[in-house]
Every structure is written in C-alpha cells, then in structure tokens.
Amino acid sequence: MKLYRKSCLIASLLIFAPSMSFAGTKFNSGDTAWLLTATALVMLMTPAGLALFYGGMSRGKNILNTIGLSFAAYATVSIMWVIWGFSLSFGKDINGIIGSMQYLFMSGIGVKTLVGSIPTFVFASFQMTFAAITVGLISGSVVERLKFSSWIVFTVLWVTFVYAPIAHWVWGGGWLSNLGALDFAGGTVVHINAGVAGLVFALMLGKRRGFRKIAMPPSSIVLTVLGAALLWFGWFGFNAGSALSANGLSGAAFLSTNTAAAIGAASWMFVDWLTHKHPTMLGGASGAVAGLVAVTPAAGYVNIIGALVIGAVSGVLGWFGASYLKYKFDYDDSLDAFGVHGLNGIWGALATGIFADPAIGSAKGLLYGNPHQLFVQLIAVLATITYSALGTFILVKITSAVTNGLRVSDEEELKGLDISIHTEKGFEI
C-alpha cells in the first residue's frame, strides 16, 4: 500500500490533473521519457519474464499453458483496464471505496492531461502493467490443472473486484490513503495480494495429481533463469518507475532494487548450499525474485543497508516458504506464488516500517525513532490479507459456477495441458 507518500502524491495529482497542460510548468519530458521506458519494462515482465520464470518450472507437457496463463492475463487485463479498470481504480473517489466511471473507455483524457509531470496516458499505461502482473503472479499457484476458461473469467472478476478496489484505496485517493502506510511500488497491492489470492485459489482448486508422489521435474531451469533475469530487468521499471519521475529518488530505488535482488539470490543459494550441499540455479533465480518482491514496498524509502538486510532475509524466507512450509502443511502452491510473493510481500511491507530512512524518502521507520510506522504497516498488511483472501474465495466460487468447474479432467491433466487445452506442443526439436 503505497499509502503515505506516493499514493497521496498521486491522489492529489489526480485532483488537479485536468487543469494542467503542456503549456503549464509541470510537464517534464525527461520524466515522461523514463516513465514510457519504465512502462515498457514492466510490460515485459508478464508475457516474457514471468511467463518464462513460471513456464520453465512447470513440466514439459504444461510449459506452454503455463506461459499462456501469464500471456492471457496480460492481454485480458490490458483490455479491461482501458475500458473500466483504470476508471474504477483512479476515477473520482466515491466514499473512499472505489473510483467513479468517469474514465470509462478513457473518456475525458487527452494528450495534454497530466498526472504530476507526466501525461495521464502514460500514467494509465504504467498502472495497467501493475494490474496485469498481479494477476499473472497468481497463476503460479494454480498451474498444471486449471481450465483456461476459468482463468480468463477469474482474471476479469479478480481485477475488477479485488485489485481495482485495493488499488483505489491505496493509490486512487481511497480510505487507505490517509492511514499513512508506506508502499513504494506495490508490496501490498501487488505481492501480498497476489500471494494470498494464489494460496486461497490453490487450496480451493486442490492438488495436482501425484503431488508429492511422482517426480515433477521442471521443464527448463535455463528458461526459468532467463525469466528471472527479465523480471529483474523489468523490475527497474517497476520500482524506479514508481518515483513517477527521473531523479535521485528513482536512482535510489534503482540501486536498492538491484541490491536486494542480488543478495536475495545469494542468500537462497546459500541456504541451498547449507541444507543440501549444493547451490541450485533455481534457488538463485527464485532468490533474486524474492529479493525484488521484498524490496518493492521499500525501494524509495530505505538506504543500502536496509536493502541489504531486506534482501538477505527474503532469500531465506522464500526458501522457507517454498521448500518447507508448503510440504509441512501439504498444500500445492505449485510454483510458490504464496511462498515467494506472499511471504516476502509481508516481510517487505513490515521492513519498510523498520528501515525507512528519512535521508532517502520522506518517511521514518522504527530504526529512525518512529515505531508507529511499523504498526501502521502491520495494519496495512492485515487489511490486504483479509480482503484479498475473502474476495478471492468468493470469486473462485463464482468462477467455478460460471465455467462449470475449475479443473481439467484427470485424463487431460495426465496428457498435459499443452496438448489437451491448446492442441500444441512447447518444443519439437
């Protein structure tokens, strides 16, 4: 919940937006250049980065379908965002709950409309990429058994009824804006939200046939590592772009992001090395993502030492979620959307309340004498978990009713979803 600083900033910017124009003093071509770039970078994360990261982890017979879930999420959200999603999230606030429908089909927005120093069209595009990847992340919990039709229906419902409201509360001038929680680039709205939704969805969907009984070797760790590298690359747009300008704050967020990712990779591999005597590349890739997740809410608030600690813990936490917790409680969060994103989203949100350094952003965490901040962060985390879990539960029920069940048949699951759903193969080489 980018509450305190950024969301307030955005909220106030939105209020004045219509009156600003290119002739005004606020438009900045450098900021716009960076945000255009950042949007492209975040876009790449879903149909390429996440698609490969997840696709490589799924079995060879399901790789294409797994990629397809990210791809379809991106396409679906892109369409609904310009129709009603953006308006629901960033339209004129209605009772602190939701945005108005004023921007339906982007109406009322022209090439001269601004948000801060950047055109509203750019801001809307940037925000769209966030909505898309959030849904994409959820797919990690449910791959290898979900019907494609269920996925599309779920995506539409979930972005409308879970993502858009939370985005509004936090970034669109809703009730959470005043709470004072810190979330630089989406630790709660994106990662806790997706992780919790994934867990709920996975529990409702049930385990894959043979989970923990048969070997489920990843189709390609090479592609997973490539996916992680692309995610890392795109995350610079995600976090440094969330400054909504090209300046020292973007620079700080950029460097924190890179630092946390690097030490997250190192710490996960290190735990691998300790526990299994072998450092795995899947661990390295996963740890980098864990670090990126954890630093997301913190990127523009913490200094380098904060980023190092946040990242170092994230690798251990992700390892714990994916290699221990899941087996301990025996749920099939297949590619660990909860284990990696959920847990580290929570950690990152709390850590922001601990490490926020007034020399970087304009907020103080526990270590700088403001224990209250940590408390606020906790509230934000709990609110997100609760709403996301409840909302997801209801929407999965509805989805199941609409698409006549959620799972492919046993035979289709056995054959693999690439052939049974798409009549295609991932590789024929």
């Binding site: 070797p217 299994h276 795995t280 899947l282 390892w319 290699s323 087996y327």
Partner: protein
C-alpha cells in the same frame, strides 16, 4: 546371423565404434537408453523437492553380424567399452533369422 546388443557408457561410444570398424564391421545402429543397475544414479533438487534419478544415460549399440564374427566382435566390444568401474554395461547376443538390405533386396550375410 547374430544380433549383438551392447549397453555401454555414452562416452565409450566413439571408442567402441572405431574398434568395430577396425575389424571390418561396417554398419551399426545406436540408440539412447536409460539404464538401471548396480551403478548409482543422482539426485535432483528443485526448491527442496528431491528427485532420485536412478535411470542413467546409456547407449545401446545394435549390430547384426555373421555368425563367424561373433567371438571377435564380443572381444572387441568388451575391450573397448571397459573402464572397470560399475556401470560398464552388458552385451546380449540373439539369433537373427533373416536380414535384408532395403536398397538392393540383398539378403542375409550379403545385407550386412
């Protein structure tokens, strides 16, 4: 004619092939198999899930030969495929009743 099937280590294939060529064997077919035996496999670990892969990559060389070449061929394969460590593989011999060269229709020893 006899069919000699040798399951060997992948890295010995070139040596075995050269050795067979030297004694005048001019054709063979090889395929990738996974072998289970006394030799230990390895463990793969993915996010804490350990998979014991106990089938090991082996190469199966199939060569059909004249009856009289059998001993010679066996000796040559044993010699060239042996490293002395567990997992060197096996050779199996069976009878072939008929052989045909598709291109020419030649049969039996002529076909080899």
């Amino acid at each position: 004619m006899k069919k000699v099937e040798a399951v060997i280590r992948p890295f010995q294939l070139d040596v075995v092939k050269e050795a067979l060529l030297e004694i005048g064997i001019k054709g063979m077919s090889v395929s990738e198999v996974k072998g289970y035996g006394r030799q230990k496999g390895h463990t793969e670990i993915y996010r804490g899930a350990e998979y014991v892969v106990d089938f090991l990559p082996k190469i199966k060389v199939e060569v059909v030969i004249k009856d009289e070449d059998l001993d010679n061929v066996l000796d040559v394969i044993i010699d060239s495929a042996k490293t002395g460590k567990i997992g060197d593989g096996k050779i199996f011999v069976s009878n072939i009743e008929k052989a045909v060269r598709i291109r020419t229709g030649e049969v039996d020893n002529e076909a080899l």
